[in-house]
């Protein structure tokens, strides 16, 4: 994974443009324009996340207070957001590797908007909030919950890769010839 890219900026005409998701060890300051783009993107992505999940949950008719069926409803809503975000980031990654867009724009959209729109902690705490509450106290029931959580997360990982792969393909990246 380690790449010897000193600056990360596309100011070396001959070298391939680094992917916006690649992270070569860069010591140089990224530049305030990029940081500002990530901040604004993160704000927009956060708003989109709240709006999308709230809308989907109310469409699904999920009760606001926690019912036992809630983890799966929450998971379904977050999976939709995560898969859409993975697909779009795949497309953006493929496109920005070939087109020479400004760094701040691709980073603001990819790391900022899509990075904030998708979440890892959300799909995990859906399961941890079940732990302390007394609805399922017997070991067998807890084992079932743990097994369901592991299965659900495995499916999410696989489908996340598949969605990103689809985005990379549709974005025009068939193989990683551009890098490393």
């Amino acid at each position: 994974m380690s790449r010897s890219d000193p600056g990360g900026a596309p100011d070396h005409p001959g070298s391939p443009v680094p992917s916006i998701t690649s992270s070569p060890s860069r010591r140089r300051h990224p530049g305030w324009r990029v940081i500002l783009a990530v901040a604004v993107g993160g704000l927009v992505g956060s708003l989109l996340h709240t709006g999308t999940t709230r809308t989907l949950l109310s469409l699904a008719g999920a009760s606001p207070a926690g019912a036992l069926d809630r983890p799966l409803a929450d998971t379904a809503v977050l999976v939709v957001a995560n898969l859409v975000g993975s697909f779009l980031l795949g497309m953006l990654t493929a496109r920005s590797a070939r087109w020479n867009r400004p760094t701040w724009l691709a980073t603001g959209l990819g790391v900022g908007v899509l990075g904030s729109f998708t979440t890892l902690s959300g799909v995990l705490v859906v399961w941890t909030v079940l732990l302390p509450h007394g609805d399922v106290t017997d070991p067998a029931g807890q084992l079932i919950i743990f097994g369901t959580a592991v299965l659900a997360l495995a499916v999410q990982g696989l489908s996340g890769s598949a969605a990103a792969l689809g985005g990379l393909y549709l974005g025009g990246m068939r193989e990683r010839g551009l890098r490393s």
Partner: protein, 143 residues
């Protein structure tokens, strides 16, 4: 403006801070940056949701269900913290990087990436919840 309304305004700002934190971790800490962001964010999210209670995934849920503890300032602060962790952690970057590894025919590396992010994140979230319960038991915050 109540603490709850203020929290809803602060959530997007916390999201911006989370995104910048993740970006800087990725920029300066190299390939492990996003992993650290996901682990730290999962730990904090586990702690925050453990204190907020079940069904507290979304800010407005807590306000609607009235599942608050003590004065409204604490749940409001926890909601802002959840907004921060939602943006600090990310799913799409892991998806794309694992997909790139699949394109490289590095199936094992793609599997390991998900295992460290999802497995490590789940362990971090559970650890955060346990720490929060222990602390709230000591300080008498929890119900």
């Amino acid at each position: 403006m109540t603490a709850a309304e203020l929290a809803l305004w602060l959530v997007p700002l916390a999201g911006a801070l989370g995104a910048v934190t993740r970006f800087l971790l990725d920029w300066y800490v190299s390939v492990r940056g996003v992993l650290w962001a996901n682990l730290a964010g999962s730990f904090l999210a586990g702690a925050a949701t453990a204190l907020l209670g079940r069904g507290s995934l979304h800010a407005t849920d807590v306000m609607a269900s009235g599942s608050v503890l003590g004065p409204a300032v604490l749940p409001a602060a926890l909601i802002v913290l959840v907004g921060f962790t939602t943006a600090l952690t990310t799913f799409s970057t892991v998806s794309v990087r694992s997909a790139e590894q699949v394109l490289d025919r590095q199936w094992g590396a793609a599997m390991r990436m998900w295992l460290t992010h999802l497995g490590g994140g789940l362990a971090a979230a559970v650890a955060g919840a346990l720490v929060a319960w222990c602390l709230s038991g000591v300080t008498g915050l929890a119900t």
